[in-house]
Symmetry: C2
Subunit: 256 residues, 2 copies
Amino acid sequence: MNKPLILITNDDGITSPGIKVLVETMERIGEVVVVAPDSPQSGMGHAITIGEVLRVKEEVHLFGDVEAFSCSGTPADCVKIAKAEVLKGRNIDLVVSGINHGANTSISVLYSGTMSAAIEGAIEGIPSIGFSLCEFGWDSDFSHVVRYVERIARKVLENGLPKDITLNVNFPVKQEEPIRGIKVCRQGRAVWQEEFDKRTDPMGRNYYWMAGQFNNQDTGEDNDVWAIENNYVAVVPTQFDLSAYKAIDLLKTWEL
Amino acid sequence: MNKPLILITNDDGITSPGIKVLVETMERIGEVVVVAPDSPQSGMGHAITIGEVLRVKEEVHLFGDVEAFSCSGTPADCVKIAKAEVLKGRNIDLVVSGINHGANTSISVLYSGTMSAAIEGAIEGIPSIGFSLCEFGWDSDFSHVVRYVERIARKVLENGLPKDITLNVNFPVKQEEPIRGIKVCRQGRAVWQEEFDKRTDPMGRNYYWMAGQFNNQDTGEDNDVWAIENNYVAVVPTQFDLSAYKAIDLLKTWEL
């Protein structure tokens, strides 16, 4: 059997440590091509580039022998241009995005460039996975998650994924005890409670830094926030059909 | 009863014709405050501003007596800063976003700044609606949609919305025959088929323009694309819980 073709992207940019770990892990499984943003794109959500041009540059020394390209666009752009141009005519077997530096559990899935790239893969009909480590910082330790990344990617290649569904995989920070296992679960209910830090620039004009606290509103144990807090890998099957089916009948009674 | 407080935003920018129509319509219903991007933000999806500062500027002449502020951030940022700073301590009764110049039916809901602002409102627990006209262009005719905008907004204020659900409302382009009514429906299944137009700049370097065809893959009649094609207003109740519940049990059988 031919080696599977694996497209790798992320939102922290092509030089992040997390994508390097992902490339090294995927090389054990298949043929790897990287198309990732040339600069950090955290919080870009499902943004795409409209009204601006895109640049794509081959990066020949970043990952040894692995074909790699940086792109001036968003994570979703990277998947689109990888499919339509960089890998034109080739069949992509798997899209993996990450490993993100920072959690994409719960409501953060909406703001996440990492997950938007994975969702974009699913829209294109390709089995796709987003991986995130629940810790910021460029010096994070990824050693405890590598075996899980490999296992989950192999399972997806083996089994495929249901139509229009991608996986949102979050890993707990490394602790003294090993990870307790994998929990397949739902997206937790939480909100970012914003605080805006108002300052004055040297010209006397006001500006704001957005900061926030993660406010968990979920008391269940079957969600990704709980899983991470309890040292499990959280796997949330994630869809891009946002229809609230349960509300359709209710709204029909409104006689709009 | 006090007049309801209505926050208006959009993604085409505070000077777009569509937001002006929305302001004029909402003034008939309640007290209006506008916090909208200072420049076009189409395709920004649910992006938020991280690592950059935000500016907010009062715009005193844009909408007559209506309080209005332009913001340097994304549509989602606008809702966050409106709630946390501009309208701090006040209870917002309704968030309305739009009227967008261009369709946000089907898969476009994911890329839409208009809808991300509405979803952000729902995350904050505020009844929220995104309105879009299925036509680009600054000279679009909105005259046929005004009564529907008003009717839907009044209904939402009257009935509230189910928890964690926002409305994605799309209007057909003005036709000779009047709009046939409102269809409450689901998000259609479609994909943007990208084509990248490769060009060479004066320095000899390549760049790309992303373009695409909307490829409808849905044969049903209960979805927003069908509704628009048949001259109905499409109302899709839209949620931000992306969990694919039906897939959870399947994935548990994988023994990850």
